[in-house]
């Protein structure tokens, strides 16, 4: 479907805002961007892989995402106490309009994280994002965020923040 300039702008603005909330550990603000059918996935395998048959690193439905946020907000989620200072750069954004008010988005990212919970250590996360954004009652929200880490099948450190 044809995507208008203003739709492209709204979608990319949404993606940057979501990234800013995540980078700054603004958990409530982040959660407000989620639609009821939200799914959050960090797969191990990058090809077509059925999550009812294969293990993922992270797979939250909306309820589990809510629990994740609640835990982070207790202030005693040690893996993110204090929250890691972070900044991510998102680029190579492609937007596909799949229905009225529905967009699939592909992007690449690099995320620098300073792990400050035990011995300060910088870690660079690299990968691709895939989003499904849907307008619900006139407001754009996130229905899917899939994170393909380049090292998902290899060892990775704690991933307690919102990636």
């Amino acid at each position: 479907m044809k995507l208008s300039e203003s739709e492209y702008r709204d979608v990319t603005q949404f993606i940057y805002k979501e990234a800013r909330f995540a980078d700054n550990s603004l958990y409530s603000e982040w959660e407000e961007l989620l639609n009821d059918d939200f799914e959050y996935m960090v797969p191990i395998e990058h090809g077509e892989s059925d999550p009812t048959k294969r293990l993922l690193i992270l797979f939250d439905n909306r309820a589990r995402a809510a629990s994740r946020v609640r835990m982070l907000k207790t202030g005693v989620r040690h893996t993110q106490t204090p929250p890691s200072p972070m900044a991510r750069v998102i680029s190579n954004i492609e937007v596909e309009k799949i229905a009225e008010g529905e967009y699939r988005v592909y992007a690449a990212f690099m995320l620098g994280e300073l792990q400050v919970q035990a011995h300060p250590n910088k870690h660079i996360w690299v990968g691709r994002y895939e989003y499904l954004l849907k307008e619900v009652e006139g407001t754009l929200g996130m229905s899917l965020k899939k994170v393909f880490l380049i090292d998902s099948a290899h060892k990775i450190p704690a991933l307690g923040f919102l990636i």
Binding site: M71, A118, A158
Partner: protein, 416 residues
Amino acid sequence: MAMNYSEAIKDGIVSSALYADDGVFNEEIEKIFTQGWVYVAHETEIPNVGDYVRRNIGLEAFVVVRGKDKKVKVISNRCTHRATLLVHEDKGNLRGSLTCWYHGWVFGFDGKLLNVPYGKGSEGLDHKCLPAATVEIYGGFVFATLNPDAIPFDEYLGNGKKIIDRVLDCSPSGKIRVDTGWVRYETQTNWKLQIENNVDGYHLNYVHASLGRALDVRYKDTVMVSEDKLTTEAIDFLGGHIELTIGAGYTKPLEWLGVKEGREMPADIKEYKDAIEEKHSDEVAHEVIYAGPPHAYIFPNLFIAETNIIFYQMEDRHTNVQLSSPILFEGSSDKLNSRFLRLCEGSLGPSSFLLPDDGAITERQSRGHIGRPMDIDLRRGMDREVVGEDGVITSHITDETSQRAFWNHYKTIMSS
């Protein structure tokens, strides 16, 4: 300076140098991981002839492969010519043989050297076959040793067999699968800290405080109530094998599967319950339905975390990788088995609700080991342990009986 293990581990006190010393680490690799038995894989990871997974024994590269005779082999992944890795991917299928991409030496799945290109120049030379480990399998769990004179497998596994039996009891078919992939979580910690933590029944209220505060979790009644209300226990099964009977705290059927009181049991779980009741005596069925699979450690590198498996691959003294994967029941419905996938993601791995908090705390602990050696105090509950006729030691779940169980066995091996 060589470590004096009988001095460093004594009366429930261990020296912090045991986690922080490179010499100790190298000695562990030799005495525990090279001379002893270690867990390497689950059979169901390599169902077909030629299927392989890469695994380390200690720090050394091995291949676990299904041979042409359908038997599991554990062979060196180092070409006997000049040490090049023969397989470099984590898993896959080998067609017929292993060929080294450096000069083309070819080996069979049993390690036999089959061909050397330009063979004339090799005439009269005793080029070597790939060293193979001795392999034993129990309940699909594959163990190996590089020591031809290792203690007999049965003696090594000891009470660990009962732990594995109880895992298999939970499957209506008596068989399990561990073939849905591994999550690999790296911590900057000595490997022994992860083991101490996994068998620690004392830390839940603090390390997992965020879980307790934010969620209505099944762990709450079994490990997060006051000391005298806890009915669960820590067990030293000897031989370094340890259990926390977390499941004994469950009072309702299939709580371990997430069934909540007052809610209707989902059809797939009901079907599972029926199958278990059908298969087992009342007593065993009750145990499965209420307690579920064990929370137990099998020395030196396998941990059965209820419906999951964890095993450890260390890289050096302060870098440890925990690989986790769910236990699925062979023959059970996809619906039921997918629950185990989601339980695994929820509790283990770097983004789960449990393990990264353990990771953060043990990384802080690791930092504490730097500096002058200090006493690590593991004496909690020493006076209230009960020793059974078979020597098995039982105590309150919060007691450091479980850590002492590890260290006692460790000491025996390391001082030999």
